[in-house]
Amino acid sequence: MENKNTRLQKTFEEMQREDRKALIAYITAGYPDLQSLSDIVQALEKGGADMVQVGIPFLDPVGDAPIVQVLSKRAVENGFTVEKFFQALKELRMSTTLPLLLRAYYTTIFGYGEDRFVEGCKEASIDGVVVPDLPLEENGALKSKLDTIDVPLIPIVVPAPMERIKAIVESGGGFVYLMMAPGENQRAFVDQLNDFANQIKQITKLPVCLGIELRELAFAKQLINNADSVDGILIGDVLMGTLQKACDNKNPGQLPTEELTQVVEYFSTSMVPRR
């Protein structure tokens, strides 16, 4: 994958030139419906998102944010299927040039069929795949299939012995997702986060992004502006919360595109250069 000028690589290079962090906007597909996917992503792009992560709803997640679970349930109740989703993803690909990450549980991928899944990624020209329930021990089969279409499996790391982190990072590509639960002390968390990111950077050239749930706007903003050792931050909870609140309160069919744009702007416009 090294010599390819992928969208993902280009974006991170651009971030480096501009000396800022990438804003990864994350939403669960199928809520309020699949037809809205392109409009929602356009709203996120307009607000200044650098990448978009689209999640396939899954009803039995271990460790998804409550809002993701709620939207997933609604999506499935509204007739979401993976097949329809890939159709919508192809349309989405035509309406945006941003890197698109696809987040799916291995349970879903296996149920749908690995080969069909990979084919869907290829047709929608996906830029990276995130699979939360597929650790190093089990990722061989999917990874080799994704390799054939040059799509990286994004490695996910948590604080662990360095040896293991190294093996995980080497088994994937694109960038590294760092997962670390913020404790009580938010200020101490920023330091821990920077330390951890720096340790990872000593063993890989891949960018390192923070992939945890950030429910509080102010805390998220504080992280974005102070976690200087990470190259990107995922914003999901607040976006999905906004989407749900608006869709539940307004007459259905009216997407809160402006509100979504504003939430992304809240982060993108305040993003100060590093150091």
Binding site: G63, G111, A181
Partner: protein, 396 residues
Amino acid sequence: MITNEKAKFGEFGGQYVPEAVMQALIELEKEFNKARNDQQFIEEYRYYLHDYDGRPTPLYYAENLTKQLGGAKIYLKREDLNHTGAHKINNTLGQALLAKRMGKKRIIAETGAGQHGVATATVAALFGMECEIFMGAEDVQRQRLNVFRMELLGAKVRSVTSGSSTLKDAVNEAIKDWVEHIDNTFYLIGSAVGPHPYPLMVREFQKIIGEEAREQILQKEGRLPDYVLACVGGGSNAIGIFYPFVKDTQVQLIGVEAAGKGLDTNLHAATFNRGTVGIIHGMKTYLLQSPDGEITEPYSVAAGLDYPGVGPEHSYLKDIGRAKYESATDEEALAAFELLSRVEGIIPALESSHALAYAVKLAPKLGKDKIIVVNLSGRGDKDVQQVAKMKGIEEI
């Protein structure tokens, strides 16, 4: 090519879990492997099985039942005589001792109908550990008596409202809690399911059933049985009695799953007879799922059998042809429940009644020289009220 071989039974099992859970599993596997090779640990486990739980459980020749059916000789492995009334305690004692050895002060577990929750709360009380049981909000409502039992034993019952508020959601919440409190918490799984090393560990703590049964039948009959039958929910009582017989290829192993209202309805828990291979709770195994891999709700009159998946070792035994998996309907199980009560004076659990129901079908087809061992996994006291209600008997 099978990857992660040490964690698998053929292609089944494995560890399909988030990285944060892997950290916990790696620690658990390391400690379990140390413990299972430590004579002192094994002796401690055996001590509690004997003095606290009352093992060995008898292998009882059900002469009346045998005569009534007029065919093969039927023996019952009396797991109903365990403390707390079922085989579940073999496993909770083992895992709680491991937790103690690992220095964990808090035990958490999931429970559906409450049987495993009660068995867990029991050992937590015994070893003086803090205990929290995750239970779907629906089940908390349906199983008030077991909720009270757990509380009486000093456990806290956490009502889970995520997802569909049932067992599978309780599992997800328990895993989440485990990852967040890994320093002091041990997650005690109730059946031979979940990510490696759980299916292996639960089998190791349940294989005492088969070891005893094998020895007992050799003593009584001077030979091995022709059939060993057990009901299959997650598969712990079945793997416990099957495992010591796996190498004895002349012994037919038959698991009996819940056919509920019938295999041709949507109301059953017949994982093998109606399911396909997929991923659930961190393992690859047969399960009831939609074409997109979403888990579908199982059903059985026996709460302990309504699990959408099955332990991975059973999937392996099925695929290599070593074990067969049949099914019994609610109706057949209820008939067996009443039959055993009447002819032997033993009220079996509704779960175990499924294995009995299959024996009722099988025995008359066999000669009187054949021997069937049925694992009577639990007693039916817990089910009496439910059965009375189904028979239209109002308040008891």
